[in-house]
Amino acid sequence: MGLVVLVAIAAPLLAPETPSGRAYLDRLGGRCCAGPSADHWLGLDELGRDVFSRIVYGARVSLVVAVVSVTLALVAGALIGAVAGYFGGAIDSALMRLVDVMLAFPSFLFAIGLVALLGTGLWQLMVAIGISNVPIFARLLRGSMLGVRTSPYVASARVLGLPPRRVLAVHMLPNAISPLIVAATLALATAIIETAGLGFLGLGSNDPAQPEWGAMLANTTRFLQTAPHLAFFPGAAIVITVLGFNLFGDGLREAIDPRLT
């Protein structure tokens, strides 16, 4: 996972060519498509662009979308969860029913619906994936807030006459947040899959300067019989990244949760 992040940051240094080449058609020599070679490690795509460069730049898109959308989901979900968990009662019920409605749709379908509503583009993509992940975080934080709310140190903070805002922010949130941090790293993996999925369906960014793994996969379906390597490498990039985030999430959970040691 660290490698993927590094690659994304260092993309301009690593990639031999810019991802949006235009005048490369002649490189193909009329045939699609050249396999891996010393010049082009992962071959050329149907427009003669260097696949390695595009994958490297694609890491940026995937990571930015994943991080921004998960952050969005985390903040919004935590807010809803904290309010629900702290106040309980009618506020809790109302918010949780809202969350239930959102959870009733598979999150990918929900994201597709949101893109349909918002239009395509990178920002729309992030917002759509972000919102579709809100319910997970809201549920999770509410649950752990309920657990923390009855804990003796929260009772003792109340007995000591601390204002409710302080009890919530200083005594409850920091003690309730750790499952969310783990869930966030796992959600990053999901967000990458969703980004690729939406990209594959043509609902991501259509800007050729922002190569996206899912969109790359979609383009290659036409050449699957003649140039399977075009499909293989973006797919492998997705698998490796998602696997990396999942392993990182599991590791983080083991490090944070004392019950799993």
Binding site: Y153, V159, L160, G161
Partner: protein
């Protein structure tokens, strides 16, 4: 005027299976500098009484009758904001389990400072100095360094000391201690009780000590109230109570303490039966079902808390006689 006066306090819990009468007509007074004990088993209503005094009963419970006045001011009619200003400042409380009552993700020093900052206008630097003084006062060695440590780096006794430092930070006039030594080793218990006694003497605080441990009561408190089934069944000076217990429940409690050097083969005296679940309006004495001295009248009439000697009152139709 007494520091704290509780009169006819009655608390009901609404539950799915009907109302629970947790506290029924409890009355007690505490003067400044005085230590008063409330003794009783789990579920006898002693902790609920304390929470009712602080106005922290929560949604499911309500005070249906009675008065609580602190320093001549009624506490029951106060708004949440007024009560919050009082809590941790003039009235403070320490809890049973020092393992869980401190916030695990805050340093000890920060938790003491937090109370100071909420109730006084000390600046950050002054609050920090004061918090170290307080930790020093409750007997935490090397307080300046240990103030920056987290609760898990403290032992149980040290955590209870830290809790006490938090509770007395604003020099409260009344301290409520709910089973302050139950979770501690016996030797540490003695140290904590010593500390509490010293603080009471130094600061002239009133102390309401809630416990089920008669040993703790014997060497700490001037007055003892015995609670059973949500009522005070006997109240007396501690000396009088140990010498001439009148209520059969008190007698049974005292008998259940094993004597040092007693017959090791003898069975520990226990009280038969279970404490009552206070679901319905009580008819008769709540202890009647387990009482060895039960009369017919005990099953139908609630005994009032009547004085039998100077400062000694008992709620029983058939109290244990003493020569």
């Amino acid at each position: 005027m007494a520091l704290l006066e509780v009169d006819d306090l009655t608390v009901r819990f609404r539950t799915l299976r009907g109302e629970v009468h947790a506290v029924n007509g409890v009355g007690l007074t505490i003067d400044a500098g005085e230590t008063v004990a409330v003794v009783g088993e789990s579920g006898s209503g002693k902790s609920v009484t304390a929470l009712a005094i602080l106005g922290l009963l929560g949604r499911a419970a309500s005070v249906t009758r009675g008065r609580v006045s602190f320093d001549g001011r009624s506490l029951l009619g106060q708004t949440e904001r007024q009560l919050r200003r009082l809590r941790g400042d003039a009235i403070s409380m320490i809890f049973q389990d020092p393992m869980t009552c401190l916030n695990p993700v805050m340093t000890i020093g920060a938790q003491v400072r937090e109370v100071l900052e909420a109730h006084t206008d000390l600046g950050t630097a002054a609050a920090k100095r004061r918090s170290i003084e307080l930790l020093d006062e409750v007997g935490i060695p090397d307080a300046a360094r240990r103030a920056d440590q987290y609760p898990h780096q403290y032992s149980g006794g040290m955590r209870q000391r830290a809790m006490i430092a938090v509770a007395i930070a604003c020099n409260p006039r009344l301290l409520i201690a709910d089973e302050p030594t139950t979770a501690l080793d016996v030797t540490v218990q003695a140290q904590i009780l010593d500390l509490l006694r010293r603080l009471i003497a130094d600061h002239g605080m009133g102390l309401l000590l809630i416990t089920h441990d008669l040993g703790v009561v014997a060497d700490t408190c001037q007055t003892t109230n015995v609670m059973y089934g949500g009522r005070i069944v006997e109240t007396a000076t501690t000396r009088e109570l140990f010498r001439r217990p009148a209520h059969p429940y008190t007698v049974a409690l005292l008998n259940s303490i094993p004597a040092l050097g007693g017959d090791r083969k003898a069975r520990l005296a226990a009280i038969d039966g279970q404490p009552p679940v206070l679901r319905a309006e009580p008819v008769g004495c709540t202890f009647a079902a387990r009482c060895p001295r039960v009369l017919e009248r005990c099953l139908t009439d609630v005994p009032p808390l009547d004085p039998i000697a100077d400062g000694h009152a008992v709620a029983c139709w058939n109290p244990t006689p003493h020569p």
